[in-house]
């Protein structure tokens, strides 16, 4: 269970181009579906309606942080990875948080998700 093969992934990203790119990378990593939300509200709605295996969340969405959503997802067993454009120490990340910094490579995503999936399993 260490990879995204067949995973349903929630992607929260407010920049279109970055979102496109991330979608591609996730699909490239074997994800079955990638749902894209560009606002926190949208992401929350998606999260409550659908089941996801993993989620990749931008930390900062239009001035809001995605930590509460991340927590609720994690509690529901979703492997959460944060994509951040900031240094990690300035933000009050949840303890389970795993991050990738933009711009990230495919390998970055793969490794981090694998970690997250394993963690979630424990």
């Amino acid at each position: 269970m260490g990879d995204l093969a067949g995973a349903r992934v929630l992607l929260l990203e407010d920049e279109f181009l970055i979102a496109m790119d991330a979608e591609q990378v996730l699909l490239g990593l074997g994800a079955e579906t990638v749902k894209i939300a560009s606002t926190l509200a949208e992401a929350e709605q998606l999260a409550s309606n659908c089941h996801f295996d993993a989620a990749m969340l931008d930390v900062n969405i239009n001035g809001q942080v995605s930590f509460p959503l991340a927590e609720s997802l994690w509690r529901r067993g979703v492997a959460v990875v944060f994509a951040t454009g900031y240094e990690m120490k300035n933000q009050p990340f949840p303890e389970f948080a795993l991050c990738v910094t933009k711009p990230y490579t495919s390998a970055d995503l793969r490794d981090t998700f694998s970690m997250a999936l394993r963690r979630r399993a424990d």
């Binding site: 181009l17 790119d21 910094t101 933009k102």
Partner: protein, 1155 residues
């Protein structure tokens, strides 16, 4: 050179151990030092005398006398040690706290027996000197208060020594000299300087030897005659040796060597007779002399004397030769003691008699010095004496017992019916014959069994037939016999025929007469019968010898009337014959009158009264036994014819007369008694007045003493004050002479102690003298103080001078006082202060200016939250003026600030904590709220926080900038990060659709370039926003020249995200248009128009992209990343909508974005 031969045989103990030289005792008290010094200066060191100085010394202090005196003489000066022998030409000094006597020529010290104040060291020494050295001594009484030395001087005189006294006029204190002179026993009174020579001369002369005179008797008699002539006292019976000694002494004192010269002196000078008289009578007595004898009296005699005596009885005592009365009073005391215990109190009369009136006065005064009462037992002293100054005075009760009177025992008839005679140390001065005559007189005078008490060296002259000896040692005798024996009065046994020595008969003339007279006298003396001559009053005017057989003294007051003197049996006969003789003028006889004689014998007497003249009648007594009748019968009247009846009637007449005389006398007596009584009462009341005056005086004295003490103290205080004051002060009198000055004036004036009294202008000073004088004169004139500032030493010293008028106790101006206050320091300090003040003012001004112009708001708030102080800045902030704010409460003016400040202010007031950079965003004034940072700090006064200082810093702008900066930073960071990710994404996406490398690169460059252009635009405006038109312009720049593009729309500024997303979107549209659409074909047009609208949802931007006249438009839109982006980006990034359609003329896109 010892003096001998003046040894007194009747006082053998006197001068028994003469010293090797005459001893001169000098006594002094206050003022003695000077007297001693003057004496020593005149005393030759080789006079062969020894001087013993006795002075009243403070027992607690060392005496400097030896040292001081040894400077005045070359004689050795010794302070006396016990046992020191007398050596000639030495000076001996009494040490302090010791009593000095001389014994066997050695000086002896002992402690005092009397308490201090009662000591008479000079008397003590002089008395011992008299006793020890007799005539080998001299005493000198010098200056001093009190009476010490007078008694001692008396002793020296009695012992035959020389007595000198300092002339009271030359003495510093004349008490002692005056007292000594008052004894009347001083040989010479002279100034001290003359004394040494006089003493030396006296002892050098030695005694004039009158013993060598051929006819000493005549000389003595001549002197006695002078004495009798001058003083009425006959000393011819005085003991010869005593007389000679006394006369010799007088001659020695006077420096007269020849007896005729002395006789001349006695005749010429009245006081010489008196001085010799005093010398002859000198008798030192004291109370209870020979205490054992008095004790015997007390035990054995007085009880007997008083036995069986009742209140109606009288006890009579007689003390002839009483001198100053000590013995009479001693007896009185003994008797008073005995009477105190007796059941009954008889009357006691003690007759104290003497011929020395001076001594009698003393006896009457009954006041005695300490030396006289030293043998009185203490309880008797307490009971019968009272102290008065230095003397002891006898109580009235004792004095009332003693009657003092002048009586010559030789001349005057004795007292009769006396119970006791005390006659001590009188007989020794009389010659034997007189002594032998006196004993019978005593016998006569005493009652049967009466007592006789003689002096310790006296006796009854062998008349043991008259007296029995009771106690030989004490010389106490008792009268024998029950009857009186007649005593021939006066007691002259053989009248001294002075006429024989004195009168020089005239040459030849009276020789025959002399002889006849001598014969007649002889017959008269030896052969003529006893007779008297009486006057018409029957007074005896002349008497012959041997009348004693027929005459006697009657009892009671002695009388001179023959009728009283005749023996009892003869009395009436005598009267008869005298009366008869007077009446008949003829000789009248009475024969064979019976008279009591010796024993119980009766003998017969013939009386013969013969008128001699009108006045006088001769009365002859003859024993009738021989029957010698050899009278001529001429005119004899037989008195027998004188009838009894006539006699009786005569007697009766006489009686009546006597009675009436008596009555008159009694009346007169009573009157005078009354007078006496009343004058007595007056006396007593005067006495009381005097006493109370005395009391008052004593009180006044006390007060005066107090005043004097106060004065002394005030003086002392004043002196101390003047000495101690640090202020230069000068006192000038009216004439500007220096009266006084304090020590501190020396700083300014060169005063010396001698300057007191000198004129002020004479003194040197560092000040302007003239100015001071002028000021002083002015003050004297106007009587008001003047103050003036003085500078000296070129202004280095400043003084404030106050010149004040000096007022005396009556408030009259009496001078001026100049007081100098050194104000140098003060002035300097003042100058410094002024300088500091200026400086301070300057600083204060600076600070004030600072405060006012500070770019921050500053204020001070009091505990009531009122503005104490406000600066302009703060005032401006609140929109008020400084004046408007001061005093107003914060909450009234700036309530929001007050609210914000309340907590911090309270903290500051309570805890004194300062706080800084407190945030406050408040709308103080005007439109918007501003941000402030507030500092508060405590302002303390006396450790209490009285106010809070507030500093208000407007940080709104700064904050804004900060915020802006932060925003910028945030944005940049975000952008930077995202941009790289975006570019990566563009790269990826572009790479995914462009396989051709050149195409890839070109497309990439263009896409990234569009982003970059927008970045530039954003940067131009600090990433705030960018203009839509600018974005479009930048995008379309390569294409506008073809004139096919129209851009239309209001100025819209897009935030960064919008700008970027729209840039990307528009870029793709432009690229597409350039590739396939309007921009690729001439004649095609592009129209871009936008607008902003507002509705319920908010603000919306609508952009319309319309391409027209584009040939060959495909019916299907292309796909690919570009198309995706166009359709989705706006929706994704901006939550907007993008509607893309391919119309007939070309692409048509509508973008709607909220913003």
């Amino acid at each position: 050179m010892a003096v001998d031969g003046l040894h007194s045989p009747d006082r053998p103990e006197l001068g028994a151990h003469p010293a090797p030289c005459p001893v001169v005792g000098l006594g002094a008290s206050a003022g003695g030092l000077e007297a001693f010094q003057n004496f020593l200066m005149a005393a030759p060191p080789d006079a062969g005398l020894a001087y013993v100085l006795v002075q009243h010394l403070d027992p607690n202090h060392e005496s400097m006398l030896a040292e001081l005196l040894s400077r005045r003489t070359t004689m050795p000066v010794r302070q006396i040690a016990d046992g020191m022998p007398i050596e000639p030409n030495h000076l001996y000094l009494i040490p302090p706290n010791a009593s000095l006597v001389i014994d066997k020529g050695r000086l002896r010290l002992s402690g005092f027996s009397e308490p201090r104040g009662f000591r008479r060291p000079i008397d003590v020494f002089f008395r011992s000197l008299a006793q020890d050295q007799g005539a080998n001594a001299a005493c000198v009484v010098l200056s001093g208060t009190g009476a010490d030395g007078s008694e001692g001087l008396r002793a020296i005189k009695e012992a035959g020594g020389l007595t000198l006294v300092q002339d009271p006029k030359t003495a510093k204190y004349d008490g002692m000299p005056k007292s000594a002179v008052a004894t009347g026993l001083v040989d010479k009174v002279m100034p001290v300087g003359d004394m040494p020579a006089a003493i030396r001369d006296y002892f050098d002369r030695g005694h004039a030897s009158i013993f060598s005179l051929p006819d000493v008797t005549d000389f003595l008699l001549a002197v006695c005659e002078e004495l009798r002539h001058r003083l009425g006292h006959d000393f011819s019976q005085y003991k010869r040796s005593t007389m000679m000694r006394r006369i010799q002494r007088r001659m020695q004192v006077l420096g007269i060597a020849s007896p005729p010269d002395y006789l001349e002196r006695v005749r010429e000078k009245a006081d010489e007779a008196r001085l010799l008289f005093r010398d002859l009578l000198i008798n030192v007595t004291c109370f209870f002399r020979d205490a054992e004898a008095f004790d015997f009296l007390r035990r054995e005699v007085v009880p007997v004397l008083l036995r069986d005596k009742g209140a109606s009885d009288t006890i009579r005592l007689w003390t002839p030769g009483c001198s100053s009365g000590e013995e009479a009073y001693s007896i009185a005391i003994l008797i008073a003691e005995a009477l105190a215990r007796a059941p009954a109190r008889p009357t006691v009369q003690i007759f104290a008699t003497d011929i020395d009136e001076a001594m009698l006065q003393k006896a009457r005064a009954a006041s005695y010095p300490q030396s006289a009462v030293k043998d009185v037992p203490i309880e008797l002293l307490d009971r019968y004496f009272y102290a008065q100054e230095d003397d002891y005075v006898l109580n009235q009760s004792i004095r009332d017992m003693v009657r003092v009177s002048n009586h010559n025992i030789i001349k005057d008839p004795p007292f009769s019916r006396v119970d006791m005679i005390v006659c001590r140390n009188l007989l020794i001065y009389l010659n034997t014959a007189l002594q032998q005559r006196l004993i019978p007189v005593f016998h006569y005078s005493l009652k049967p069994q009466g007592w006789l008490f003689l002096g310790s060296a006296e006796n009854i002259a062998g008349r043991s037939d008259l007296f029995e000896t009771v106690e030989q040692t004490h010389r106490i005798y008792r009268r024998r016999g029950a009857y009186r024996q007649s005593v021939a009065m006066p007691l002259f046994v053989e009248p001294l025929a002075l006429a024989a020595a004195a009168s020089k008969p005239a040459e030849g003339q009276r020789i025959g007469g002399d002889r006849a007279d001598a014969v007649v006298r002889r017959v008269m003396e030896r052969y003529a019968p006893a007779h008297v001559v009486v006057n018409s009053d029957n007074d005896v005017v002349r008497s012959s010898t041997r009348t004693g057989r027929y005459l006697e003294l009657a009892e009671g007051t002695p009388s001179n009337k023959i009728t009283d003197l005749a023996k009892r049996g003869l009395r009436s006969a005598v009267r008869a014959v005298l009366d008869g003789a007077r009446a008949s003028r003829k000789r009248t006889i009475k024969r064979e009158v019976r008279v009591e004689g010796e024993g119980d014998a009766i003998f017969l007497v013939d009386l013969n009264a013969d008128p001699i003249s009108e006045e006088e009648t001769l009365l002859v007594f003859q024993d009738a036994r021989t029957g010698n009748r050899d009278f001529d019968d001429e005119s004899e009247v037989d008195v027998e014819s004188y009838s009894h009846e006539e006699r009786i009637s005569e007697l009766e007449d006489e009686l009546n007369e006597t009675r009436s005389r008596l009555r008159t006398t009694v009346e007169e007596l009573e009157t005078s008694n009354e007078e006496l009584k009343s004058s007595n009462e007056e006396m007593m009341s005067m006495n009381e007045e005097l006493q109370s005056a005395n009391e008052e005086l004593a009180t006044v004295n006390e007060e005066l003493k107090n005043k004097v003490d106060q004065l002394a103290r005030a003086n002392s205080d004043l002196q101390n004050f003047i000495e101690s004051t640090q202020v230069p002060t000068i006192f000038l009198d009216r004439k500007l002479r220096i009266r006084n000055f304090t020590p501190a004036t020396k700083a300014l004036f060169r005063f010396q102690d001698q300057d007191r009294g000198r004129s002020f202008s004479d003194v040197v000073s560092r000040t302007d003298q003239r100015q001071l004088e002028e000021l002083s004169r002015k003050v004297l004139e106007i009587g008001e103080p003047i103050e003036q500032e003085l500078t000296i030493d070129n202004g280095n010293e400043s003084y404030v001078l106050r010149v004040l008028p000096y007022r005396d106790v009556n408030d009259i101006s009496d001078g001026v006082i100049l007081v100098f206050s050194d104000v140098t320091k003060i002035r300097q300090t003042q100058a410094d202060l002024a300088r500091n003040e200026d400086l301070a003012r300057q600083r204060s001004h600076e600070i004030e200016t600072l405060y006012k112009t500070a770019p921050v708001g500053m204020a001070m708030i009091d505990r009531n939250r009122r503005f104490l102080k406000v600066n302009r800045h703060l005032a401006d902030l609140t929109g008020h003026s400084v004046e408007e704010l001061v005093g107003r409460a914060l909450k009234d003016v700036v309530p929001v600030l007050a609210e914000r400040m309340e907590g911090p202010a309270a903290d500051v007031f309570e805890q004194g904590r300062e706080m800084s950079n407190l945030d406050a965003t408040i709308r103080i004034n005007g439109d918007g709220a501003r941000d402030f940072l507030i500092d508060v700090y405590p302002y303390e006064e006396d450790e209490r926080v009285t106010a809070v200082g507030v500093v208000l810093k407007d940080v709104t702008d700064v904050r804004r900038l900060e915020k802006e900066l932060r925003r910028l930073m945030d944005e940049l960071q975000h952008r930077v990060k995202n941009t790289l990710a975006t570019v990566t994404s563009i790269v990826n996406q572009t790479a995914a659709t462009k396989s051709d490398r050149a195409d890839f690169v070109e497309t990439l460059k263009q896409r990234v370039g569009a982003l970059a252009a927008t970045h530039n635009l954003l940067t131009l405006h600090d990433w705030r926003d960018a203009s839509l038109r600018d974005i479009l312009d930048a995008e379309l720049r390569p294409y506008t020249q073809k004139g096919q593009v129209t851009i239309n729309g209001p100025e819209v500024r897009l935030p960064p995200k919008h700008a970027l997303t729209l840039t990307l979107t528009l870029h793709e549209l432009v690229t597409n248009a350039a590739k396939y659409g309007a921009l690729a074909h001439d004649g095609a047009t592009l129209s871009i128009a936008w607008m902003v609208s507002v509705d319920a949802a908010g603000r919306r931007l609508s952009i319309d992209w319309t391409e027209s006249s584009v040939p060959g438009v495909p019916t299907k839109a292309r796909s690919g990343f570009g198309m995706k982006l166009i359709k989705s980006a706006v929706g994704h990034d901006l939550q907007g909508k993008c509607d893309y359609r391919l119309a007939a003329g070309g692409a048509h896109c509508t973008i709607t974005v909220p913003f």
